[in-house]
Symmetry: C2
Subunit: 349 residues, 2 copies
């Protein structure tokens, strides 16, 4: 990390837009039966027997990612993951993506190949086809727009709006890691600026740094729900922080949520980094964001199926709206939940 | 045009990303029966009885548009149109769009409202629903990413690859207007820079300027084909210039094309502007781009149905690949067609 990137190899202008599209197309075969026509026509054609789920995200250099510590291959991977996570959050199965990129002429063909290697790896791992996109130039940084398509039967779909009183609140994996990984990377970047010869040892932060640079989407949770015959009454992915997502579910469903501080799953490494950075670990989990875990509610009857499952943690329950949204601390204190998640429009101030 | 834009009214940071999404959502109701869930969940849900068609485009300020002469409302409209045009080019009917925008803090809420007014107008006119998107901040200019979804029965779909020897080559509307409109706007911008008090009179360029600033997509041609029981053997939309699109069709279909210079439809106003700018009008039509007309091939048996139709012009025919792709001039000269269409990756050099 932090090395000067020498990507001045094959200039993109030597192949032009159509040449670049042909070059990309070669690396992406269609594997999904629902992919009828992929890259190379005016539009892609897909054919889903059930509903089509569509989610899209726009990632901007300097706002959503920093190429000084984000390898292009990881960036390509993460750009796909954040969209697949949204499809999973509907309890749907992703099947196709489109990827549009805008690149300045500081990028070589080799740099773009790295980006698409990450995209291809995510496509392979999550069994989705790249079926289209757009390539254009940018005057400044790199811009990536991904649209993910998926499919689900109507009776499987989970919206944000279905949570009911007494439902259990469940979250997959653990929280706060991506945020603390970012803190580590930002610190090392600051050190590197002062001393470019410094060799950061990130081995004690490996889990958190990977959560930030190369997150995964929780396909395994969708499988678990399916095999357990559970359809969540509501579901959302944790991209802006647990607190913000809980408030979304509560507001959309017309209910309130009560979660228990000592139930919030946090990895031991993350606890250690929080200590090092003097950041309250509950704050990191509540407001950190970018964990791409799934947060969902289920009827109480599913408690036995989920209570000791290694992939998920029951962190609270749903109440009538009048109770307000609260965090109950280890000492039994009740603290109102507020959204302090990442807000890209506020960040510019 | 060219006035100083005073959009410093309501700062976007005062409402945040979720506030902005709520604000946008209110203006977009779902009208299509295939739109199940729109803005406000992790993903949109649509339900097509037939194939789903997907096309996406990324538009970058300073590359694809210039806000010094492009009103934001027109820009919003055009951003939708260019994507709908791609859906029509599959002989499909657009049904939904997603719109992602990245905005710097020089934009106020009122400015974004203008952009969405144009998007809403296009949605209304072309009967498509806005079902999702992303809003984020940009460090520099405005970025718009639109994905259009549509639907078509399998037997109706037209690809680039189906053109056959002796098929007729047909184009809708007329060509070169958007390009010459751009020349006029660029000239007036240069005049304005020298003398900000100049009041350009664009009335004699009205058609061409509108072709550039507020193009339409050819829904009427899809209706015409449907009512005439014609499925084009191949189709593409004219976004990069007639020459470039003809070469795409020919290459994808493994054939060649012969077109007649004196058949290329050009509006009288465009001819006049070409004269004024000393630009060859055939060159403007062949290489201009951004006309968003439909270029398609049909079996010869449809000649009578199309030959004198006011919406379309038969401009040539398909030959075996060995003949090469040619323009036949009024004097019977044969000139090889080459792609000199707009290439955003080359433009930076």
């Amino acid at each position: 990390m932090f090395e000067e990137k020498d990507f001045e190899k094959t200039p993109l202008s030597s192949m032009g837009e159509f040449g670049l599209i042909e070059h990309i197309k070669k690396q992406f075969a269609l594997d999904q039966t629902s992919s009828i026509i992929g890259i190379g026509d005016d539009a892609a054609i897909i054919s889903h027997a059930d509903n089509t789920v569509v989610s899209t995200d726009l990632l901007i250099e300097g706002i959503h990612f920093d190429l000084s510590y984000m390898p292009l291959k990881h960036l390509g991977y993460k750009a796909v993951i954040v969209n697949l996570s949204d499809v999973f959050a509907m309890n749907a199965i992703p099947t196709q993506i489109t990827v549009s990129i805008a690149i300045s002429n500081r990028f070589s063909l080799e740099a773009i190949d790295e980006l698409y290697k990450g995209i291809a790896l995510a496509c392979k791992r999550y069994k989705v086809d790249l079926v289209g996109g757009d390539t254009t130039s940018s005057k400044t940084g790199l811009i990536i727009s991904v649209t993910a398509l998926g499919t689900a039967k109507t009776e499987k779909l989970s919206y944000r709006s279905g949570a009911k009183e007494n439902d259990l609140i469940v979250v997959s994996g653990d929280l706060g890691g991506a945020y603390m990984g970012l803190q580590v990377l930002e610190r090392e970047k600051a050190v590197y600026k002062v001393n470019p010869n410094s060799q950061p040892d990130l081995s004690t932060y490996a889990y958190s740094v990977e959560r930030q640079l190369k997150p995964e989407a929780r396909a395994d949770i969708i499988d678990l729900l399916d095999s357990s015959n559970i359809v969540p009454t509501s579901m959302i992915d944790v991209s802006d922080g647990l607190s913000s997502e809980l408030l979304h579910l509560a507001k959309s469903s017309g209910v309130s949520c009560q979660i228990y501080e000592d139930k919030i799953p946090i990895d031991p490494e993350v606890l250690q980094i929080c200590k090092e950075f003097s950041i309250n670990n509950t704050t990191a989990a509540l407001n950190g964001g970018e964990d791409y875990e799934l947060l969902f509610t289920v009827d109480q009857k599913h408690y036995d199926a989920l209570k000791n499952h290694p992939l998920v943690t029951v962190i609270g329950h749903i109440s009538e709206v009048a109770k307000g949204n609260n965090l109950i601390t280890g000492l039994g204190q009740q603290i109102e939940l507020t959204a302090q998640g990442w807000n890209s429009l506020l960040e510019q101030d």
